[in-house]
């Protein structure tokens, strides 16, 4: 009997439904109402769960997929070589790019001979699945390191993020390098 | 013309107009609303007598309870123009004749009455205060008062019985 399926409670919160007659006090409901009022008033003094968003930002989990970042290497050169694998793998077709050849004298800017002249992600199309991250052979695109959300805008055009918003700033790359050494 | 008389004339005109519109308007809801206004203006007449208690009871009982129930029922019935009953011509003529006869009787009565010129009894008591009213009702008019309450009780029991009976037969 003790191990019958009716008595198993995985959550430990299982309660048997009883159909017993309510006593006079229970039928008055006054006690129940006062109990309910006490429960709600307890919440009145409890710490609020709200985070005042623009001023306070909730801490991100290490695997949180936020705004994309095009990474630079230790010397501050862009990793991306405009192979197009991220655009190919993107299920929402949010990524477009245009490749260009590296000119002599630009070695400090781009790591490979080919780089992305235009790299755009439409944030309205992006579903933040992270497949671009997985597809990238050059460790160029990351969603976890920006620790940022894509903010709301008034115009649709403003959601198309170009290289100016996506590429990791040079100072950050330099700071990363320092931390490595 | 004194202010009280002026107010009385305006109120009377309003009362008569709303009472007339109650019968005249085709939409039953409009009729009911005019009747509410009529009740409220009758409350104004009571206030002119300085009968506050009577005025407020008029407001609570007629405007506040009975007419709310009236409106409630009319709203539930959902009367449309198609549902209107066409009365035969004969009843219309009969109604007109009866109305004229009634008018004649009333005018005859009003013309024949003499204005009351007798003295009012001045007892020094404020008959508008509820205390005096209550004492008068429960001392001098005890028996009619109780009869009225029994009458109301009977009516109430009758209604309960009627509504119960219908249920048990089903």
């Amino acid at each position: 009997m003790a191990t019958s399926i009716q008595n198993i409670s995985l959550s430990g919160k299982k309660k048997q439904v009883s159909h017993k007659e309510m006593t006079f006090w229970e039928r008055l409901y006054l006690v129940a109402i006062i109990k309910g009022l006490l429960i709600t008033i307890k919440h009145f003094f409890r710490r609020k769960a709200t985070i005042h968003y623009p001023e306070q930002v909730r801490e991100f989990s290490p695997v949180y997929r936020g705004k994309h970042t095009l990474k630079r290497d230790e010397q501050g050169r862009e990793n991306c070589t405009a192979c197009g694998l991220c655009a190919l793998t993107c299920p929402a077709e949010a990524i477009t790019m245009k490749a260009a050849e590296r000119k002599p004298g630009e070695e400090h800017l781009y790591r490979e001979e080919k780089y992305a002249e235009i790299y755009e992600i439409n944030m309205l199309r992006c579903i933040f699945c992270g497949l671009c991250e997985e597809a990238c052979p050059k460790d160029a695109i990351y969603m976890t390191i920006s620790k940022e959300l894509v903010p709301a805008q008034y115009d649709r055009e403003d959601f198309i993020y170009g290289k100016d918003k996506l590429v990791m700033p040079l100072e950050v790359a330099m700071a990363n390098t320092k931390n490595l050494n | 013309m004194s202010t009280v008389l002026l107010i009385f004339y305006i109120l009377s005109a309003f009362t008569l107009a709303t009472a007339f519109l109650t019968i005249y308007s085709k939409n039953p809801i409009h009729s009911a609303i005019y009747l509410v206004l009529c009740m409220v203006s009758i409350m104004g007449h009571y206030l002119l007598f300085n009968a506050q208690f009577l005025a407020l009871v008029q407001l609570i009982v007629y405007a506040g309870a009975i007419m709310v129930l009236f409106l409630f029922t009319i709203m539930l019935m959902n009367l449309n123009k198609e549902d209107e009953v066409h009365k035969p011509r004969m009843t219309r003529y009969a109604a007109v004749i009866i109305f004229i006869l009634l008018c004649g009787v009333l005018t005859y009565v009003f013309v024949d009455t003499k204005p009351i010129m007798g003295e009012y009894d001045v007892t020094g008591q404020d008959f508008q205060s509820i205390k005096v009213l209550g004492k008068v009702l429960l001392n001098e008019y005890m028996v009619p008062f109780e009869f009225v309450s029994i009458l109301l009780l009977t009516a109430m029991l009758g209604v309960v019985l009627l509504s119960k009976k219908e249920k048990s037969t089903r």
């Binding site: 109402i33 309910g36 009022l37 429960i39 709600t40 008033i41 919440h43 009145f44 409890r46 710490r47 609020k48 769960a49 709200t50 005042h52 | 809801i29 609303i33 509410v36 409220v40 506050q52 208690f53 407020l56 009871v57 407001l59 609570i60 405007a63 506040g64 309870a65 709310v68 129930l69 409106l71 409630f72 709203m75 539930l76 508008q128 205060s129 509820i130 205390k131």
Partner: protein, 343 residues
């Protein structure tokens, strides 16, 4: 009647109106704040400090909104509905004693617009007429949901008025007067009616909830079944009037509760303050005490709203006719026996 009295009364009435409006306005803010706090949120906090300018922003929004009119054959009644609701909500405050006497410029100012002999009946009358605002508006909207709301409001109002009146009768048997000022003065010195009439108070409280159409009795406007009930078709400031009237009603009914059962402007040590600090200060503290009581009741209204779910319609009618009315009649009988036994 001297002209100074007229001026005094006019100023007083304007002040009462302004205070009622202000209280109604900030009740909307308080409602949102209390709701938020009871649900572990913070509520409106962007407009002004702690969201204190939120009512103004809401009002501005309502004024600026497009005024929508349904295709109804009763345009006039559609306008009259919110007006009646608002007017009846505001004129009740005329007979409420807001405080004792004040002495300004050598005049004794009684802090009450009018002290008629039948104040309590006046309040009842106005409340019973108040339902017309909802009924007319709901019917003139030419919408089934609005009509349902109107019909519900009417039947609910009529049912609960009976129990409310009967619960008051027990109180009147003790006080022997219908004047609110007399009732307040009888409760001087912590002699509050709630200690003598706890059951009557409870019945009156429940009926007050029902009469103001507040949760758990807000069947006239229950969102889950009737969209918005009687104000489904209303928009802009006409809608604002309905909402405003509800909050004004809440304020007035809290005031009546405080005056009838919780001693009105009376507070312990009133005589001591009157003797030592002057009557004016005693009166001012009395007004403040009355407002504290009112605010406590308003808070209670909101607290209950966010605790108890809405009644089903048959439960509402059962509670009104089968429980509250017999209970209040028993209360009257017990009160009568007690008065006979102890006096």
């Amino acid at each position: 009647m001297d002209s100074a009295l007229i001026i005094e009364k006019s100023i007083f009435i304007v002040v009462i109106f302004a205070v009622t409006m202000l209280m109604a306005m900030y009740s909307t803010w308080a409602e949102r704040k209390v709701a938020a706090f009871l649900q572990d949120r913070v509520g409106p906090n962007r407009a002004g400090w702690g969201g204190l300018l939120q009512p103004l922003a809401d009002g501005l929004k309502l004024f600026a909104k497009e005024e929508f009119e349904p295709n109804t054959p009763n345009k006039f009644l559609f306008f009259v509905g919110p007006g009646v609701a608002m007017a009846t909500a505001l004129i009740t405050s005329a007979v409420i004693p807001w405080g004792d006497k004040l002495e300004i410029f050598g005049r004794t100012v009684i802090l009450q617009a009018t002290d008629i002999d039948v104040s309590l009946l006046y309040i009842f009358g106005v409340i019973s007429v108040g339902v017309y605002g909802i009924m007319i508006g709901g019917w003139a909207s030419n919408n089934k949901f609005s009509l349902m709301g109107a019909v519900r409001a009417a039947s609910q109002m009529v049912s609960y008025e009976v129990a409310m009146g009967l619960s008051i009768i027990a109180l009147l048997m003790m006080s022997g007067s219908l004047s609110l000022r007399a009732i307040t003065e009888q409760q001087h010195g912590m002699d509050w009616n709630v200690f003598y009439q706890p059951v009557g108070f409870l019945i009156f409280l429940i009926c007050a909830f029902a009469e103001t159409n507040r949760t758990p009795f807000d069947l006239a406007e229950c969102e889950s079944e009737l969209i918005g009930g009687y104000h489904t078709e209303y928009s802009s400031m006409k809608m604002g009037f309905y909402l405003f009237a509800e909050y004004a009603n809440m304020f007035i009914s809290s005031t009546i509760l405080a005056v009838l059962y919780f001693g009105g402007y009376n507070y312990p040590g009133m005589d001591w303050v009157g003797i030592h600090w002057g009557t004016n200060i005693a009166t001012l503290i009395g007004i403040a005490v009355l407002f504290v009581k009112i605010c406590a009741f308003i808070f209670f209204y909101m607290w209950v709203r966010w605790t108890i779910p809405r009644f089903r319609y048959d439960q509402l009618m059962n509670l009104g006719w089968k429980i509250l009315i017999p209970l209040s009649i028993i209360n009257i009988m017990i009160t009568g026996i007690c008065i006979l036994a102890f006096k």
